[in-house]
Point group: C2
Chain length 148, copies 2
């Protein structure tokens, strides 16, 4: 399956988050062509400040693989990872990150925290935006509804 198809799978999880009144961000982890982890943001329902989609997906992928090293894995996430999540990707030794919408206010790369290419750290990997309008639109719609 193609990168846009994988982002659509992540988007389906973001929709689930919105249905549960969570900020709609979804993520999947793919290993050897297979989705091994699926998660969406659960901060409110879990009362957990680190329950971002990426952190939950990374932890599930590690459980599936039986190792904290996500070698050979790609994380697909609807929104650009925040600094916590991009750092978590680095710590997990993931191969690659692909996201569907930039986050100018909270995204690590947008804010200039290029943790994925810091040569002083243990691991470097590509983290790229593959713009998918629906990934941003679902967030705009969510916050529009919250304000109304």
């Amino acid at each position: 399956m193609s990168d846009p198809d994988r982002l659509q799978e992540a988007l389906a999880l973001a929709r689930k988050a919105a249905d549960e009144d969570e900020v709609p961000v979804g993520a999947v982890v793919v290993h050897e062509g297979k989705v091994i982890a699926r998660a969406h943001n659960r901060r409110e329902q879990d009362g957990n400040p680190v329950a971002h989609a990426e952190i939950l997906a990374i932890q599930e992928a590690a459980r599936t693989l039986g190792s904290w090293r996500l070698v050979g894995c790609t994380l697909y996430v609807t929104l650009e990872p925040c600094p916590m999540c991009l750092a978590a990707c680095m710590l997990s030794r993931i191969d690659r990150v692909v996201y569907g919408a930039r986050d100018p206010k909270g995204g690590a790369q947008s804010l200039g925290y290029a943790l994925h290419e810091d040569k002083r750290l243990n691991h470097r990997f590509p983290s790229e935006c593959l713009e998918q309008p629906e990934c941003g639109e679902i967030l705009s719609a969510f916050f529009r509804k919250k304000r109304s």
Copy 2:
């Protein structure tokens, strides 16, 4: 109890981590003068790349308080938080972070990732080093033993 006393409590947890063959880092979260969470690094035994002492302590504190907002809380940790953990502190709205040893190679502040004072983010807080030689020594001893 004083800040150095709280760091001693975190150090006792770091010792527990060393006994379990984990990189010895320990953390406690204090709220209204009471320790509400205790954790040590569990990356290897849990096979979880995000199971740093700080992340586990933050999550336990949130469970105890029944909220993802750690307002009124201080995190005491033996080692300077990495970028993931400092960002997690920011996301949890914690009041303050105190650590007992600098981490020149992996600490967020040492590497120039001053996430705790970034005015573009939602929350700012002090994160300070209160040097406690034992907090660094337990790490040196651990890695010395690993290499021998």
